[in-house]
Symmetry: D2
Subunit: 333 residues, 4 copies
């Protein structure tokens, strides 16, 4: 039974059905009726006028956003454990043409206004030092923690005060919103976010993520860069259809709630072992190598996370019945 | 009735079925069994040991190939009308970090050894001038002409003699091979090609192209660059499945033959008007604005191509019955 | 006797003296009093408020200017024979992060409004094609022709109408102004030029060129990029001193007039052989290989320029007595 | 009296004299006799066959070296306080096309084999994480500490074992060698260094640094990149002459010894206040704001270095008589 990641789960049936339904003729690239309806549909969800681009991966969404917010000679403040720094193979540097990631720390991979201020405040404003131009935060974070609207707003305030753009990597944005129970707007543009990588693939999509610009004037440049990066599919309707299907009847929130609930189940069985609070669909446990081996011996599949820790991720499609045995096994360690 | 491009046609049913069949759990990225079988499957088709990467677009395939063959300070010799120069929004420059496209001419968007030699021979070998490092040709070309094995071999010989890499943009490679009736190997590695963009999307795929390295030592770097470009899907099996389905029972050749035959139908009806010989699935006609308007009035959809010309493209899924009315209409102009 | 280029001539004594005079202590980088006075001094020369950066080479000046005027996904329209295209080793692509040089033709390496309009007009305004964002012209051109104020104004009008920036490569700007006898302003900002590479090295400098921004808001970004390109000397005063010395008592114009006059001497002796009108300090002659050999046999050093042509360049320091023998020899061929 | 940096000091008279002596005609770029003799002259100094390029700044030397050692998708391990990370405005990222600086810590800005191993060992060897490809160390370091031959050799061994290139930023290489009293070879290529930025500007030069390749096969690519970066002066002889003058009669070591001795004077007066051992020409002191103000009140000019610290740098041209008053003042605090 897999708990190694949510990024390999199957595609949700409504998403697949929408793709099949799109298997007809329409205009190429993003001229089709599915792609053309994205702006309006996401504008409803976010209660403001947004511009939306489909892209095939979260890395692409993140990096197009960063390139729109940060010039080649600038810097992007992010957490040292941020996906853009650790697991994107230098894609931010590629897309931004060499901007520098400026690394801050904070528990649970969360940035704080203080950490940002400390980092930015130590940079001399001269031509010798790279100047920060943007901040990137991840919600939910790499460790499954969720920024609240108040927390994002506090960071958004720093961004505004310093003239920095604010990007949110929302590979697990649905899990964050499902946890918060707030309006998507509350934790994004109302809190100062300029661009959001709205994740779908981990949440039941196949190969479409949405890059959402709240600062809509950035979209035109991103459209050019999307093509220039080889990301403009000629049959874009199959990506747009995925995104629309995820929004239909709040499938994105339903799937995320299911995954979060599964993680909660595990967390409840493992309270004393939790490395981080469990707010989304990831559970980090303290386990010895022996304990980890025992769980694997029972057929549970997961990643070690450094020494003495394990990461368990619950996917949208895992039923309580699938998860309960692991919860039991953890409790029995 | 559409004749504007083959890039918006539906996905072939076997391809879609293969994607649906892949809708189960497997390892992420390219660790799944579909992705893992690509090298072997393509090695059979090409009768030699190849390395294969799925990518979502032809631009991505082309530009990863160019980045593998040409350093940032080098140049890529290509036809002035090549897709990489005209319609990829600077993606070659992006992926290669600023290599220069060096433009040659030739009828039907075909490069000749002579044109390459003339261009390369005029470059001083000093540090002031960009030195060519690769050649890129398109088969079938942007105007639907097909390089024969002998023609590619002649270019491959120039490439070897000058120490240049050789890339083939095969967005319509299937159409070329279907026209030639030769082994795929004959018009690629046996003729000196180092890397091939093997197109599927225009030929019944959804969003997967294959980047095939005959010079297999280039693949490792390309794997890193694929991730760095945000092209590494976490659910890569849906791309690999498309490619495998295209190869199954020679679907790729069947589809291409159908499209080529449709174009032949049109060409036969329009002999006196042909701008280029019709060898693949594209037909370029001399038509007046008035004639073009008349065809459109009858419901036929196509692009103008400069002044006094029109481009008609036949897709894999268009039956003879769909095409015959246009042939009749052209003949009746 | 050398006529191969003006780029190897000695440094003019007043320039060298100014450098020696600067050999005292001052603030590093461009904080010294020489560097700090550049804006004011050039503003006088150009009769408007300008921002000026010293850089060590003409390529650096050109490419920092292009990077300020053109984003990575844009294009720069220039003549196919422009130095930035032919002899800068891809530096424009490096500094702009991959912008595309868009090549137009025209006699004597001069761009015309018509050529620009034709080129730009053929580009579709969509995301598939690189959009022009700037124009670069060279005055005097690579073939020694000089754009008049009216000619630059006509190009400036096209630039404004199309929203393009306008850069002038003035490696031999002094020679152009000396020929025109106009105010420097007339052939630059009054004619629509946004940024000028003001050349000194070919005209008696050692290793300082001035990048002059008429569109002054571009300078701050260029200052950052200058440092980022490794061009910010820690002892910048030795570069600033060169530039100031060149402006002192119009040394730049005196030197240029001398070089132009020398070229005129040669031109008068070679009327029937001239490939281009001689307006600056370069003379292009039709000569057979045999004739070229004879001239070289007499001790004259110059470059062949294609087949059957030779290029003679007169430097600022060559006295009439040095040049007369060549004039005589040419007349005697 | 200035102690703020050695980068604004005047040019040593023999260097200036050599430049004046070069003020004659010769071939352009690096074809002149001065430039052409660099390889041989430096090969003598380093007791091995080297290739040498003049460049105008230390940043240029460092970044051309890094670009030769690290591909765009790779990483360079360096100290968090390294000049390339802190004070080069993103130039390493620019020249390498986006390689990532991987930051390690260590006292006095010195890297240790252990720190390198720890950092490199934590990187998964997959396509998701940037792989280290080079190490860069600074000798003397940003805090004036000197790596011994044994220390460099230990790092060189790690580099070899891991297949990483090794670069040494020697902006103050002369000060390091003067301190060590060893052969220049001992602390460079014999210890595993592939490329050295050999600093001159801080040590009495005007605007020439030497990029020395011990791994000589890297030089050809660097020659192309030098031109592509706008660093190829047309009158290169004035840079080569500086370098040759610095080597003549060991001027580089004499100047460095003088500066080191001056720093020693200060260190002796300030033992209890020293933040770092004083091995080269930099002295870092613990001083209160009040004490710093008092020193400045006496006419001494220097930088604060964080809170409660001051940096004093002695230049090659400062006589003992110039320095003694500061030593006295410090002792009297």
């Amino acid at each position: 039974m897999r708990f190694f990641s949510d990024n390999a789960a199957p595609v949700a049936q409504p998403v697949l059905d929408a793709m099949i339904a799109a298997n007809t003729l329409d205009t190429a690239y993003d001229g089709d009726r599915w792609s053309q309806s994205l702006d309006a549909r996401f504008s409803e969800v976010f209660e403001t006028n947004v511009r939306v681009l489909w892209v095939p991966t979260g890395t692409a969404a993140n990096c197009l956003a960063l390139a729109a917010l940060c010039p080649p000679d600038g810097g992007v403040i992010c957490h040292a454990h941020a996906h853009i720094n650790v697991d994107e193979a230098g894609a931010p540097e590629f897309y931004t043409h060499g901007a520098k990631l400026m690394l801050a720390d904070g528990p649970g991979a969360k940035l704080t206004p203080h950490a940002i201020e400390t980092l930015a405040g130590a940079i001399r404003n001269d031509v010798h030092q790279v100047q920060p131009r943007a901040i990137s935060i991840t919600n939910a974070t790499e460790y499954g923690l969720v920024y609240t609207p108040a927390e994002v707003t506090a960071i958004g305030d720093v961004a505004r005060a310093r003239g920095l753009g604010l990007h949110m990597d929302g590979a697990r944005f649905a899990n964050a919103v499902a946890h918060l129970g707030c309006a998507p707007a509350d934790v994004t543009w109302r809190a100062g976010v300029d661009a959001l990588s709205f994740g779908c693939v981990k949440n039941g999509g196949m190969n479409a993520e949405a890059l959402v610009f709240f600062k809509t004037e950035l979209a035109d440049m991103a459209l050019r860069r999307r093509k220039r990066a080889g990301l403009l599919h000629s049959k874009g309707r199959y990506l747009a259809a995925q995104l629309l299907a995820m929004l239909e009847d709040d499938l994105w929130l339903k799937n995320a709630r299911a995954a979060n609930a599964g993680a909660r189940l595990l967390a409840n069985a493992a309270c004393a072992r939790l490395v981080h609070p469990v707010e989304a669909n990831e559970v980090f446990l303290k386990v010895t190598a022996d304990e980890a081996a025992r769980l694997r011996g029972l057929g549970f599949d997961f990643y070690d996370w450094g020494v003495g820790e394990a990461r368990l991720v619950v996917s949208w499609d895992q039923a309580e019945a699938d998860i309960a045995p692991l919860a039991t096994a953890i409790a029995a360690l």
